[in-house]
Symmetry: C2
Subunit: 207 residues, 2 copies
């Protein structure tokens, strides 16, 4: 069996035996992203199935339940966005530039921003199907970013008196909060500019 934890059957190749199934799964995942962007609870399988042009039963053949589908959407996003920011670059300022680039990139994919914004808030409820996912995710990002700020201290680039972990927490908080305001009114804030200004106030000589 070639099944992952969330039931994702691996594609055999461009003309492999699972090719059609794989294409359908991708279409479902794309539609699910759009629908779940308004929230997991308010989005329905019917809506997703309609967008793909198939029945609910057909959809459930690929993803056995609604919550499994959500997991798959999040896993796919992780896969696609990994390595957009390189926390291991020799220049410790580079990850910060990467985050600014990520913020700018996000401005071109409002659906993805809405998905993470809505789900991260929704999932603060312990019974939410993405609760554990977001807990893990925040721990992981916080660790990586804390490491970056530790190296910046070693390089004498971080303003004195700032704890690396608190800088990481504040950076993540700023990015998250900017998304809410941006989604409510996209003209009010440029997420990339705002984040860069924050870093420039934190790093000796700016980023």
């Amino acid at each position: 069996m070639t099944e992952t934890a969330t039931g994702v059957r691996k594609r055999r190749g461009p003309r492999g035996e699972y090719a059609k199934s794989s294409a359908t799964r991708e279409a479902i995942l794309d539609a699910a992203l759009e629908v779940f962007a308004s929230g997991y609870n308010s989005g329905s399988l019917r809506d997703i199935a309609n967008r793909v042009g198939m029945s609910e039963a057909g959809l459930l053949h690929h993803f056995k339940s609604k919550s499994i589908l959500l997991q798959a959407v999040l896993d796919l996003r992780d896969e696609r966005s990994r390595d957009l920011v390189d926390f291991d670059d020799e220049d410790a300022v580079e990850p910060l530039r990467g985050l600014v680039a990520l913020a700018r990139h996000n401005s071109s994919v409002p659906g993805v921003v809405e998905l993470y914004c809505t789900l991260s808030a929704e999932s603060t409820a312990p019974e939410h199907p993405a609760h554990a996912y977001f807990q893990r995710r925040y721990v992981s990002v916080r660790e990586s970013l804390t490491g970056t700020f530790e190296r910046l201290i070693a390089d004498g680039r971080l303003l004195p008196g700032i704890s690396p972990e608190r800088a990481a927490i504040a950076t993540i908080a700023l990015m998250d909060g900017l998304q809410v305001q941006w989604l409510l009114d996209r003209d009010v804030v440029d997420m990339g500019d705002a984040l860069k200004e924050f870093f420039d106030g934190l790093i000796v000589g700016g980023i």
Copy 2:
């Protein structure tokens, strides 16, 4: 008729003719706050009615629909939290201290934090019943806070090169984002400390 826009009948007095009705309404609003804290869409009138100990029909006698009940919850929270921060104090640093105090106070009422966190994210969707409410709210808070930073500039207290509106946007974003991380793991961050550290890096001599 003494009805407000959201159908809130005003109490006539401690022994007024609407006394019982008013007490029931408050009980409903308290329960609704708890239930809507997990999201408007995922919360049900049945759940709220059960917590109050009455039927759904009885509940709907006081609030004609689910969305009207949500509006009433938000209106009540506004009423109770107004004047916690005085943006008109003669000392322009005082509002910032007020926001730190607010952040510390919020740590004692996780339900309220969860309500705003979840609903503000959910309501970025244009069809959400609280969409207009949160758009207005963010515009209003941003304006007040921008004014505070303008006065801090006039007083020579804001670090040079920082735009008042951007400082306001970043402050609000930071507060919102801290809430998400705090709700996911309350041990990871002290919202008051984090906000104060941010202000100390922004204001000459600290707050």
